[in-house]
């Protein structure tokens, strides 16, 4: 449909460079979303905080960027297959009489549940906060760990 719109456009040669760029961008976007088998690697659940989940043979690693959140404002719970992170981000109130130029940082409560692909051992979960990044170490349940099978 994009093509038709532009071919119908009377002054085709007088388009501004920015709209030309915009058109190219949309075409590129469409090209990539239509690409067979291609999916957006960043599929977000739309719930704060955003989580990156990785695994190795024995553990899952869940990481989230939580700047300005103290460890005791955070609560982590786990069942045999889910991990939940709840907490609150507080931003200390500044003195009366300050004038704001920009206010982009946000405070509030959050709650997130992540389902894990295999069973985990909820008793052995460890978590650490470092420079505003939360890392949760989630050991896999014994039954879910891969086993090396020797062939006799």
């Amino acid at each position: 449909m994009i093509y038709r719109r532009f071919f119908d456009y009377p002054s085709l040669g007088l388009r501004s460079p920015s709209s030309e760029f915009e058109r190219m961008r949309r075409q590129m976007d469409r090209l990539f979303t239509d690409w067979p088998g291609q999916r957006d690697p960043r599929v977000s659940a739309g719930v704060f905080p955003q989580i990156n989940l990785t695994e190795d043979a024995g553990k899952f690693y869940a990481r989230a960027e939580l700047p300005g959140i103290a460890a005791n404002d955070l609560e982590i719970q786990a069942t045999s297959k889910t991990l939940s992170i709840t907490g609150e981000r507080k931003i200390a109130k500044e003195d009366e009489g300050v004038r704001y130029h920009r206010r982009e940082r946000d405070a509030g409560k959050f709650s997130r549940v992540v389902s894990l692909p295999t069973e985990i051992d909820p008793d052995k979960i460890e978590a650490k906060m470092e420079n505003g990044i939360l890392t949760v170490f989630i050991p896999k349940a014994e039954a879910a760990k891969p086993r090396q099978i020797t062939i006799n």
Partner: protein, 136 residues
């Protein structure tokens, strides 16, 4: 936002920025979220820079241009395989032009849980800007 406003935090996509200058090392560059406020004495900037350590933080003020940049070290080890990736990591970079004259000697920067608090004291208007002449 003040403390008494207890609303739910929304997901905010990290703002990727097109490189301000050519990068010497490859990687993504993000623009950190900031709060900027002032009172009579100082200008304060708060920036969310999760993953930045004090040694990776760079603050530069020259010709009324304030530049903040922060390097983030990768957290993933090579053995880990990705299952779900909702956010990406990269450097932080943002520039501001300041209209106030800042007392460069007394700039204070604190980094706490991935939040930078930068205090830029204003030079009193009555006193002329102090220029230090250094003997060579």
């Amino acid at each position: 936002m003040s403390d008494n406003k207890k609303h739910e935090l929304q997901v905010k996509e990290k703002q990727e920025m097109t490189s301000p200058a050519e990068q010497t090392t490859p990687g993504l560059v993000f623009s950190p979220s900031v709060d900027i406020f002032e009172n009579e004495k100082e200008l304060v900037l708060m920036a969310d820079m999760p993953g930045v350590q004090a040694k990776g933080l760079n603050i530069d003020l020259r010709d009324d241009t304030l530049t903040i940049s922060g390097d983030v070290e990768p957290l993933f080890s090579d053995k880990e395989e990705e299952i779900l990736i909702e956010y990406e990591m990269g450097k932080y970079y943002r520039q501001f032009s300041l209209s106030e004259v800042i007392d460069q000697e007394r700039i204070d920067a604190q980094l706490n849980h991935g939040v930078l608090r930068l205090t830029l004291p204003k030079v009193e208007k009555a006193s002329p800007r102090k220029i230090v002449v250094q003997a060579v």
